[in-house]
Point group: C2
DNA sequence: ATTCTACAAACAAACAGTTGTTTGGAACAG
DNA sequence: CTGTTCCAAACAACTGTTTGTTTGTAGAAT
């Protein structure tokens, strides 16, 4: 009990956990591994956290919060729907790549959270998806996007390519995060097909 | 040693592994769990397999092979590029949903394979991605797809929405697998934006 | 300045249980 | 009678967590 909620050591622990959970998975990472990463015995870690689950939640929640924060910025912009969608995807790509580890854990390991903690994260994830649906609905209403659009499915298309970034993006690559977001937005909005006439 | 490569029991074991690895992850599933699922002691499983890694490889490889098989069918069709892309996505969605467990393991747990086994899977995954790039290149050459397309990135867009199906598709949902594939193909090819004139 | 107090941080050791795997022998099949 | 299939038991190592105790270091009291 009575665990320090914030301290230098705890922050080190959380970011070591982000790295290791991302590389080896939650169940593939032992308290031993985490202790080794900080140069401590595994028992000593319990001076800073309540349990291994706590650590997982901290990492996942950190990932979720950053996406939400950046998403709100794009949503609350005053601009045409396609422009806000573009901005949303750029922001998503930037956040995803600036926190590759926490983001990967957010996407892959959240399901290993205990039920109550999992609910918290699901709520945040739903809110994030709702942002995209909102943008799309506005676009249809304004006549900027196809009228026959299946909003949920289109939102999934947008989020899919954003979330899949983790599995292929390499930091030594030639594309910047925002360029990736821009490119995806252009393809999604404009389509891959050759337009007949302009 | 001298492990039966094929038998009824082994098949049962592999599909139990697919289900459990998919639900709890590779490291989150113990040999105990697998034994319980078949009504055997965990030690008894070693009459049918060499190691836990063997099981993981079998599940992942099974997932990979089915995607490749179905993908080839779409690629070798004689039809315009957009039509082949549509067929590829429909096939992908069908395979993904008909083998939800193995597919999830193929996508999420392959990284826990030992190096040499991992190479095998990477090769198959690359071949699958190359199918999509091939279709896209043909489409650009034939003037059916935009000339300025970034082939690799467009392929990633296609594969992203295909692979992300696992995280949202529910079997009790109202959309059939092929309808999902069709819908994604339409959005990707045509774009979300409202076309000015037709 | 020197003592006393308070506290966080870490160790060392143990907890009870689980991990993947191997072995020797039994039951049962063709 | 030869294999296959399984159990029973053990293997050493590792799991997450708790305990009692030591250490370093602040601030307050002397």
């Amino acid at each position: 009990m009575s665990v320090a909620l914030r301290s230098r050591r705890r922050d080190e622990l959380v970011s070591a956990a982000a790295r290791l959970f991302s590389e080896r998975g939650y169940h593939g990472t032992s308290m031993q591994d985490l202790g080794d990463a900080l140069g401590l015995l595994r028992g000593s870690l319990y001076a800073h956290i309540g349990s291994k689950q706590d650590l997982l939640f901290d990492v996942v929640d950190q990932g979720a919060r950053r996406f939400l924060q950046r998403g709100e910025h794009a949503v609350h912009q005053v601009a045409p729907s396609p422009q806000r969608l573009r901005d949303f995807l750029v922001g998503h790509a930037e956040v995803a790549i600036e926190q590759l580890d926490a983001g990967r854990v957010f996407l892959n390991e959240w399901r290993y959270l205990d039920d109550s903690l999992q609910e918290d994260i699901k709520t945040k994830r739903d809110a994030y998806e709702e942002m995209v649906r909102g943008i799309l609905r506005d676009g249809v209403a304004a006549g900027e996007l196809r009228a026959d659009l299946d909003i949920s499915l289109a939102a999934r298309l947008v989020l899919s390519c954003g979330n899949w970034i983790y599995s292929w993006y390499r930091l030594d690559g030639e594309m910047s995060p925002s360029a990736v977001g821009e490119a995806f937005a252009n393809m999604i909005i404009g389509g891959l097909h050759q337009e007949e006439a302009v």
